[in-house]
């Protein structure tokens, strides 16, 4: 549990830095550190599926945010930079394929569930829930926490979008320039 506490402290520190710092790019980097630490925390808590999802979403958000932040001062990259980007991309894709092929050796055949719990869901779902749609029954019953979390994440995301796109209380361009 010690590593988890260290990660939580790291995330709190990075979040405080993200809020307090004035440089937007540094804020985005600090925010990315929070998300990546969260992915590692999910991995420690034995939730690899959540960790992978968190990692993918975090990288996507990071790319979008960095693109949004540095768009004004964007310069065309030189030929050397483009070659370097191409090499790094090729190496990354090759490493990804190697990792996936190694992972597939450990996986069971399609249809042969490695997790025995899921078999219990199917067997007992109809009896426990009293509904004919077993998928819905699993979502709302056995994986109820998951569904509640999804609904909460969606609600929070909508509130966040409304806060960003609000019409009232926004600073005008002149006020921002004065600061």
């Amino acid at each position: 549990m010690l590593e988890l506490y260290c990660l939580v402290l790291f995330m709190i520190a990075a979040a405080v830095i993200a809020v307090s710092i004035r440089d937007l790019l540094s804020t985005v980097v600090a925010l990315g550190a929070v998300g990546l630490a969260l992915a590692v925390a999910f991995l420690i808590l034995k939730a690899p599926d959540l960790a992978v999802t968190q990692l993918v979403v975090e990288i996507l958000c990071l790319v979008l945010l960095i693109r949004a932040v540095v768009s004004r001062s964007r310069r065309e990259p030189g030929r050397g930079v483009m070659v370097a980007i191409g090499v790094v991309t090729l190496v990354s894709v090759a490493l990804l394929f190697v990792a996936l092929s190694l992972m597939m050796r450990e996986m069971t055949w399609f249809g042969d569930a490695a997790m025995r719990v899921s078999r219990q869901y199917v067997d007992r779902g109809l009896v426990h829930g009293g509904t004919l749609n077993v998928v819905n029954e699993i979502l709302l019953n056995y994986r109820g926490y998951d569904t509640l979390g999804e609904a909460t994440v969606f609600f929070t995301a909508v509130i966040g979008i409304l806060a960003v796109l609000r019409r009232h209380g926004r600073k005008k361009a002149a006020e921002v320039e004065e600061q």
Partner: protein
């Protein structure tokens, strides 16, 4: 096709949309209400109902910059509706027996609660999507007016 923001699309699109929006909405409601017994559920039904509203808005045009008072009122009320649905879902899920994984309530009790949860999830998802779309649409219209 008319590209101005305020008048929507052509008469053909408007006529077809006027007829299909009701059918799409009914299909979404059907998915929500029968989600516990047939393929469907709150998420899918909520998205389809929201898409019906978005279809209507696209066909008939979006007015921004505070010109449409009804839609502004809707934009103010929908977050409350979403919050209420979230709270209702939490109460249903937590207090009406779904938490016990079928150990406590009988089958006859759980099925209506599942339907209620589906309805609340549909309200949450549908209201959220409509909210995002309307806010983005009004922002775009507002910018268009200023230019």
């Amino acid at each position: 096709m008319n590209t101005t923001h305020h008048s929507g699309m052509t008469t053909i699109v408007k006529t077809v949309s006027r007829m299909t929006v009701i059918l799409i909405s009914l299909f979404g409601v059907s998915l929500v209400l029968h989600g516990h017994n047939s393929p469907g559920g709150g998420f899918a039904g909520g998205v389809i109902i929201a898409l019906a509203g978005i279809n209507y808005t696209l066909a008939f045009g979006a007015r921004g910059n505070g010109e449409n008072a009804g839609r502004e009122t809707l934009l103010e009320k929908l977050p409350g509706l979403m919050g209420g649905a979230m709270l209702g879902f939490l109460i249903c899920w937590f207090f009406l027996g779904l938490l016990s994984n079928g150990a406590g309530p009988s089958a006859g009790v759980v099925a209506p609660v599942t339907m209620l949860c589906d309805i609340l999830i549909a309200v949450n998802v549908g209201a959220g999507l409509v909210l995002i779309f309307l806010r983005l649409a009004s922002l775009r219209c507002g910018e268009g007016v200023r230019r």
